[in-house]
């Protein structure tokens, strides 16, 4: 039990280091898209440690407690994430629904803390984040339930093993429409450009983070990096067949994150009603068509 918990914290720390490094490299990638040189690859580490070294103000105990709850909830969620087939902290508990439920703890902590700051822009940001969540969850859930129906299990590592056993046929290829829906939902989850509505620095002054500075903002940055690690890892395990060893996991992870970053670097920002309308129009249609094709007609490549 103790070793499992230590191992889980190690997984969360690995996710933090991996995602922070890859985010720094991706800032260089986006800079090259814009014909710039870009920052150092470890710039994200510098930002986080600088924020932790600053002095900060508080807006009441709800504000402080919410930040700790957000960070703790996300670390607790990341502990269950399998990295490869063998590197799992709690082998029986890597169920997909555990992530769906536990990730809400971190999100709600952040929402509570942002509302505790008393800034109206923070409340608008939280409202928009929840609305975006409502939009992308429905098509994503339809696709994931299709996968669960096909594989007969909801354990992430078993879904990954299923894809590796079937001649390495990833669900991204076997369910092409569903794969595209998954990619679009992932962009909504991570908060990349067309669906960045809840951050919107020029419009609502970075939304939920408007009143944070110094240490609290540093902890929220760490929380954000681990959240992105969880979401991208979910995509890697569900659609790209997981990984046999850690090198393939890092390669697949880097490929997915760089792809969504390059897509997002050429887009503008949607309004919140455009986000909801977009997700309820195209991805949901594609997801339902994909579920019909895969389950009733049995056409799985």
């Amino acid at each position: 039990m103790i070793t499992g918990i230590l191992f889980g914290i190690g997984v969360a720390f690995f996710g933090f280091v991996l995602q922070t490094s890859i985010a720094g490299v991706n800032r260089k990638v986006v800079a090259r898209v814009q014909k710039r040189y870009g920052p150092k690859w470890y710039q994200e580490f510098l930002d986080i440690f600088k924020l932790l070294s600053k002095r900060s103000v508080t807006h009441g105990w709800v504000f402080d407690f919410g930040v700790i709850m957000a960070l703790g909830g996300i670390i607790g969620t990341a502990m269950f994430m399998p990295i490869t087939q063998n590197l799992i902290a709690f082998p029986e508990y890597d169920n997909f629904f555990i992530f769906v439920y536990l990730i809400a703890v971190g999100m709600l902590g952040m929402a509570m803390s942002a509302s505790g700051s008393g800034n109206p822009l923070a409340s608008i940001g939280v409202m928009r984040a929840l609305t975006t969540m409502l939009a992308y969850e429905v098509p994503f859930m339809i696709v994931v339930l299709t996968i669960i129906k096909l594989t007969g299990t909801s354990s992430l590592s078993e879904i990954a093993a299923f894809q590796q056993l079937a001649g390495n046929n990833w669900f991204f290829i076997a369910l092409p429409l569903g794969g595209i829906v998954g990619l679009m939902s992932l962009m909504g989850m991570v908060g990349k450009k067309p669906f960045e509505t809840h951050i919107a620095p020029a419009e609502i002054a970075s939304g939920p983070m408007v009143e944070y500075g110094g240490k609290q903002l540093g902890m929220l940055f760490i929380m954000h990096e681990i959240t992105v690690f969880i979401e991208v890892s979910l995509f890697v395990h569900l659609f790209l067949g997981g990984a046999d060893n850690i090198i393939f996991f890092v390669i697949k992870y880097f490929a997915v994150y760089t792809t969504i970053n390059i897509i997002s670097s050429v887009y503008g920002r949607f309004k919140i009603d455009q986000v909801v309308l977009f997700f309820y129009k195209w991805p949901i249609t594609m997801a339902i068509v994909q579920a019909f094709i895969a389950i009733y007609l049995g056409w799985v490549i």
């Binding site: 870009g38 510098l46 103000v57 408007v210 009143e211």
Partner: protein
């Protein structure tokens, strides 16, 4: 044979070491809050985009005062904007730095005889780096940022400490210009 002797460091030395480590992170990741009041603000887009690419230095724009480290005062300040500038500066989390752009923040520039603008910025908030010129060249702006990083490295960017130490003096100047610094009516709450 070389031998290393470990002596126990005093608390001041330990604090100084931690502060130097923090200074390394702070000077390599300066987040700006752009207070674009005057024409010098037009020098910031080329400094940020592909022509000069400020992100090489780890600098980037931030949305709110709480998140930012550097306050850029780009140009003249009328009395109405000075009050907002003071509010903004006091909201920033410490350590914080101020960069004044153009001759308007140094001695009033072409608005030196106007009744509606202030002439010297550093009488109201402490300024760490001035970038002279009307308007400054973009190279000069980038050079000013590198100067600020050097000042942080050599522990001379102490404007925020000075604001604590000589707050009475600053408040006196602010009151002389504005009358009352904190106004409580329906436009300021």
């Amino acid at each position: 044979m070389l031998s290393t002797k470990f002596t126990k460091m005093t608390k001041e030395e330990v604090d100084r070491k931690w502060w130097e480590i923090g200074d390394f992170f702070r000077r390599n990741s300066l987040w700006m809050l752009m207070y674009c009041t005057g024409c010098c603000a037009i020098e910031l887009p080329p400094a940020m985009t592909s022509a000069y690419d400020m992100e090489r230095l780890g600098m980037g724009p931030m949305a709110t005062p709480r998140q930012a480290d550097v306050l850029l005062v780009t140009g003249y300040l009328s009395l109405k904007t000075l009050r907002r500038l003071i509010y903004t500066y006091e909201q920033m989390s410490e350590p914080k730095y101020v960069v004044g752009f153009g001759s308007c923040t140094i001695n009033g520039g072409i608005y030196h005889d106007s009744h509606a603008v202030i002439n010297q910025l550093d009488q109201y908030v402490p300024v760490d780096v001035y970038v002279a010129g009307c308007m400054p060249n973009t190279e000069a702006v980038m050079n000013g940022f590198v100067d600020l990083m050097d000042l942080i490295k050599s522990k001379k960017a102490n404007g925020w400490k000075d604001y604590h130490k000589r707050y009475e003096w600053y408040l006196e100047n602010q009151k002389a210009a504005l009358g009352e610094v904190r106004v409580h009516d329906e436009f300021h709450e």
